[in-house]
Structures are given as structure tokens and as C-alpha cells.
Amino acid sequence: MITRVRAFGAFWYDFVVGDDWRVAIAVIVGLAATFGLSKAGIPAWWVLPVCVLLVLPLSLRRARRKD
């Protein structure tokens, strides 16, 4: 039973998070920063685009190093 629960959890982790968990963490941090800035009345639309600009090259660099 535990093995099946673990396999179920592993499947969903792989399905959503995929090969690089840091991407998921960066997106969550980006969303939190957007929320925080918006609540403070500061324009925050630029946070997620900057997040993509930083995260994708770093994730690609890690993937290349694995090769």
C-alpha cells in the first residue's frame, strides 16, 4: 500500500515539477514576490518575466553540466 502511495506521489511530482525542482521553487518565490509587491501598491507585473529570464538559462546550464 505504502509503495503504491509513494509511486502515486512520485508520478505527480514528476508530472508537475519534472526534472528541475528549482524551477518550481523559483516560480513560487516569483508569485509570492508579485503578491507582496502588489499588496504594497508597487507595480509587480515585471516580476514573473524577470523570473523566466533568470530561471530558464540557469536550468539549461545545469542540464548541460549533467551531460
Binding site: V17, V23, V27, S38, A44, L60, D67
Partner: protein, 246 residues
Amino acid sequence: MTAGALFLAVFLACVVEAVEALTIVLAAGTARDWRSTGLGVGAALIALAIVVAALGPALTAIPLSALRLVVGGLLLIFGLQWLRKAVLRASGHKALHDETAIYARTLAAAENAPPQRRGLVTDWYAFTLSFKGCTLEGLEVVFIALTFGSNQHDIPLAAIAAVAAVLVVAAAGLAIRAPLARVPENTMKFVVGIMLTSFGVFWGGEGAGAHWPGSDAALLGIVPAVAVFAVALVAVLRHNTPVAVR
């Protein structure tokens, strides 16, 4: 623009996933038993219908800002993973997705597996192979169609795009009885990665309380910007392409 983009993103994503599922189904049916393979496909479609029936109404009941925050975040994570793989493939750092090679491997494995009967299913291997293939590829289709559809308040349009894609691929597969190797799958995955990432950025930002300059028109800037960035990354990475996968 958003309705057209919604249709395009869901249609392309569904074509890609349907082509991959078709390869597995063809291999299972050709090497083993078409009846058991068909039962596997049917069981997978029922399982996916249950997922849609459970998640669809639940998603429409969630307030829009919360939905956009969660779904935008998930789409962005999902989209960045797609885009990452697409950039690695396009730059030669990861082998291109080759349906003919996958078909040959799956066929060889299916031919060597021992036969086993379970209940109504005469060939359990063919059943589980087609069931797993269709369920796993179908889950991605369901996820993309439901998230795009619910965010745009147009699940019917997303469903039409998904069903149209599956019907087109199934008809082509039945007609030629071979993997659809000529479909530009890698290019389509690249485009889908751009769309998922762009919509994830847009909806995630809106859900978290940001106001986009130009409102919905901001997507007209986000989509090309992400595309140009991804193409630029491909160009940069191509400088150090490993010869083996080129």
C-alpha cells in the same frame, strides 16, 4: 486574440500528446493483439473522462483570482519544463523526439513479452501498454485543456480543440497504420512550451495581484518576447553542441 491562442495552444499540445499515444497503441496492436489494445484505449478514455468530470466543475467553482494564481503558477512550471526540453532538443543537447525509433523500441519489447490472459482481456501486456500510454499522454492533454479553458471561461472551446486534435491524429494513424513521424513534433513542442510559459506568466501575475500594462493586450508582447528569448537561448547553446546528438 486569447480565444485563438487558447485554441492553438490546446490543439498543438493535444496533437503532440496524441501522436505519442498513437505510437504506443500502434506498437501494442501490431505486435500483440488489437482487441486487448482497443480495450486498453477504451479504459484509458473512461479514466480520463472521470478525471475531467471531477476536475472540470471543481475548477469552475474556484474564484478567478485564486484559480489564476494556482493554475498560472502550475502552467508556468509546466511550461518552463517543456521549454527547457525544447531548447535542449533544438540546440542539439538532447536527442530529438523520434516516433519511428520509439515505435521500433516499443514493438521489439512488446514482441518479446510473454502472453498472459486476465478476465475479459486476452492479452494483458497489450492492454496495460495501451492503457498506460493513453492515460499518461491524456493526462497532459486534460491538464492543459482544463487549465486554459477554465482561466478563459471557455472550457467548451478548449474541449473542442482537444477533441479535434485527437480525431485528426487518430484518423491519420488509422489511414497510414504507422507512427506519424512526419509531424513536426519537436517544433510543435517548442511552440507549446512558449504558449504555456507565456500564459503562465500572464495568469500567474494577474492571480497574484499584478496589473498588466494594456490588460489582455499584454499577451501580444509576452508571447513574442518569450519566443525570441527561447530562440536566442537555442542560438547560444548551439555553440557548444555535442556531436553525438546533432
